[in-house]
């Protein structure tokens, strides 16, 4: 009996030992610069000053989000240090700040830096250094290029994806449309136009007129008049808010009533539809992937309630009607999810690996049904959008969630 018991003890202790060694092997911690047992350092670059300073709200929202996470115990027990610098939207300054983050602050990765040319300026550097440049805050389609730039990944639907959704809608519901395009003469407008033409493919003849405007123009009235004269019966308005409102208003003034499609960039009730006049904006189409915090239909939505309580407790100066807060919240949540998935292996390589294996992740402020999916060959986290029509004083979502990648 005693012998048996001794044997049992010996056996069980052997088991314990082997189990212990096993866990040690399993939980082997691996860190690159910027991560430790207690801390994860994340870098970020935002235009807090300069022409695009309105977007600085995104960085502030993210800072507040990580502060909240830290108060709740951090990610896998590690506190997140969010270091955000200002580049004033100037690419040369972005390079300086990125190098400061990587070489001086030793961050694990750079997250959600804003702007197309600013991020393009540091893309090569980040890939040479093999430091992740995650969830770039720009709608350019070039961030989805895992073969040439395996350390860079986008986040939001690209302009080209969005353009494809509209093209699909037009070809299906208005196959004989004559499309007039008004676009802003910069990377945003041109990338969009490119996507639109690619989506129409052999039906590109449907585009009967294109008008480009410069942001320095005080008014675009004459462009609208020209588009009307071209005989177009569908207007795609690739514009930023101020010009979007002008376009809607002018079309109404000259009694032109085409089917109007407005980019997501300008689908703001307070910033565009109201100044353009609700009576002029009825029936305008657009697409969205984020919930609009100004829309009462989300008041009972659990995700929206979480977002609103975050605003109340951790970012009281944040404006719920500003789409940038909704955006920053969802992006920060995606980042936190990836870091959580990394577990104790906080190396550059594993961060990229986990970022490229997101499956059906749904941040609180994304539209229901839209999820984040990535793979080693797919670096475009959000690819879905839902169409919406302006009715009364708000947007009404309709139809299914549309994916840009399915069919042409």
């Amino acid at each position: 009996m005693i012998a048996a018991r001794q044997l049992l003890t010996a056996l069980s202790s052997a088991l314990v030992i082997s189990a212990a060694t096993c866990t040690v092997a399993m939980a082997q911690k691996a860190y690159d610069a910027g991560a430790s047992d207690t801390e994860i350092r994340i870098g970020n670059i935002m235009p807090y000053s300069g022409p695009a300073s309105a977007y600085g709200v995104i960085g502030r929202t993210e800072a507040a989000y990580f502060k909240m996470l830290n108060e709740q115990g951090g990610i896998n027990g590690r506190k997140v240090t969010f270091i955000s610098y200002d580049d004033g939207y100037s690419p040369a300054k972005t390079v300086e700040q990125a190098r400061k983050l990587v070489e001086s602050d030793n961050v694990l990765l750079i997250f959600n830096s804003l702007g197309t040319s600013t991020n393009a300026a540091i893309r090569k550097y980040m890939n040479e250094k093999q430091v992740p440049q995650l969830f770039v805050a720009s709608g350019s389609s070039k961030w989805n290029d895992p073969k040439d730039y395996p350390w860079t990944m986008g986040w939001q639907p690209s302009y080209q994806d969005e353009a494809r959704v509209y093209a699909k809608y037009i070809m299906k519901h208005k196959p004989d449309a004559k499309v007039g395009v008004l676009y802003q003469n910069d990377d945003f407008g041109k990338d969009y136009l490119k996507g639109l033409k690619a989506a129409f493919a052999d039906k590109a003849v449907m585009i009967v007129a294109e008008e480009a405007y410069e942001t320095s123009e005080p008014t675009i009235d004459n462009r609208i008049v020209k588009l009307k004269a071209s005989g177009a019966d569908t207007l795609i308005s690739i514009t930023t808010p101020k010009f979007a409102a002008q376009a809607i208003k002018k079309a109404a003034e000259i009694a032109w009533t085409p089917l109007q499609i407005l980019t997501d960039v300008s689908a703001s009730v307070g910033g565009v539809m109201q100044p353009a006049g609700f009576e002029n904006s009825q029936g305008v189409l657009s697409a969205a992937y984020l919930k609009d915090a100004a829309d009462p239909q989300w008041d009972k939505d659990p995700g929206m309630q979480k977002f609103l309580s975050f605003l109340r407790t951790h970012y009281p100066e944040g404006n719920r009607f500003d789409g940038a807060t909704v955006f920053g919240y969802a992006a920060a949540q995606t980042m936190a999810k990836v870091l959580e998935m990394c577990g104790d292996d906080l190396t550059h390589a594993n961060v990229m690996k986990q970022a490229a294996s997101l499956k059906d992740f749904a941040p609180d402020t994304l539209l229901p049904g839209i999820t984040i999916n990535t793979s080693p060959t797919d670096f475009a986290p959000i690819k879905q959008l839902q169409l919406m029509r302006f009715k009364g004083e708000k947007w009404e979502l309709f139809g299914d969630i549309m994916s840009a990648s399915l069919g042409h």
């Binding site: 000053s49 955000s84 200002d86 004033g88 100037s90 040369a92 390079v95 300026a121 003469n185 990377d187």
Partner: protein, 338 residues
């Protein structure tokens, strides 16, 4: 009284001509040079990069200093010349596969031509009107770079990515360090040439025009030629700086060369001391580091903090770094006497 003349009253020509007033003393120059050569050996790559940018902006400020401090003409359009230089280097390197070092003189020559030509119509303007004309150039440039006709070369709104050169002859140093020393060599050459230019016959002609155009032409100075020449030289140096900037940043895009850059350079010149060439590097340090300091004080109000700091500088030392240098010199002289 035009703005140009106001500057003149504060910086009498007599002071600009003697060697000492325009440059640093021999000993000080050597000390600064030694610091510039030695510091990179002991700091991180990121700091080396910042120092490279310091030299590059220093060159651009120096160029403006020759134009404004030397010939008394204003320019808010330096960002346009800087952009042309940057694009010239980038296009030659990426499309024609040319060696980076060879692209710089070409960038300089093209910008010289561009500046010289721009100087022709600008001849009819002076003071604030000239400033406005150059301002127009600066606002137009980013849009010109986006034009569809040039898109094949400029990359349009997407810009161009530039490859950073390795150190030649198998020298055991990183890309950043090599580029720094390369930039330093170019900067010293241009600085020495500029000092000599201002001390030469042409330089005296510039300053005569600055001080009094009518008197200068009465003395036989070809006012039109020297005014456009000053524009050309200034644009040429700015172009070289732009080319170096493109190589250091490894990227050119229209967004990088907006009017903000031109204003920064102008600011750098004022802070460094108008007409005092060594001040250029102080001015350059101001426009690179003070925004960072302002940001570390307050993220939301960085612009306002920067404004306050700038205001303090202008209020306390209206003649910029030159004033500080002169005070320091007097102090040292006093100490020596005692």
């Amino acid at each position: 009284m035009s703005a140009a003349e106001e500057v003149v009253t504060e910086a009498p020509a007599v002071e600009a001509v003697p060697k000492r007033a325009m440059t640093l003393g021999y000993g000080t120059s050597l000390a600064v040079l030694a610091a510039l050569i030695l510091i990179p050996l002991f700091v991180k790559n990121f700091i080396i990069f910042q120092m490279t940018m310091l030299l590059i902006y220093g060159l651009a400020v120096l160029a403006l200093n020759i134009l404004t401090g030397g010939s008394g003409q204003f320019s808010l359009g330096q960002s346009a010349f800087y952009a042309v230089g940057a694009y010239t280097s980038a296009i030659l390197m990426e499309h024609a596969g040319m060696n980076y070092a060879l692209t710089l003189p070409i960038a300089g020559l093209i910008c010289f031509g561009f500046g010289f030509l721009f100087g022709q119509p600008a001849l009819r303007l002076s003071g604030v009107y000239l400033a406005l004309a150059t301002f127009a150039l600066a606002t137009a440039m980013p849009q010109l770079l986006k034009l569809g006709y040039f898109e094949h070369w400029t990359g349009g709104v997407q810009g161009l990515v530039v490859t950073k050169p390795d150190a030649p002859f198998g020298l055991p140093m990183g890309q950043d360090m090599w580029l720094y020393y390369f930039t330093l060599a170019v900067s010293i050459a241009i600085y020495v040439a500029s000092v000599n230019l201002l001390r030469s016959r042409s330089g005296r002609a510039f300053m005569a025009i600055r001080d009094n155009e009518i008197a200068a032409s009465a003395m036989g100075v070809d006012v039109a030629l020297y005014k456009t020449l000053a524009f050309g030289v200034s644009a040429g140096i700015t172009g070289v700086a732009g080319g170096l900037g493109a190589i250091a940043v490894q990227f050119v895009a229209p967004d990088g060369y907006t009017i903000t850059l031109a204003i920064s350079l102008f600011l750098g010149m004022v802070v460094g001391g108008v007409g005092w060439l060594p001040g250029s590097i102080v001015g350059s340090a101001f426009i690179i580091f003070v925004p960072n300091i302002a940001e570390s004080i307050s993220k939301g109000l960085s612009g306002a903090v920067f404004g306050v700091l700038l205001f303090l500088v202008i209020f306390l030392v209206p003649h910029g770094a030159r004033q500080v240098a002169i005070v320091a010199q007097q102090l040292i002289a006093k100490l020596k006497k005692n």
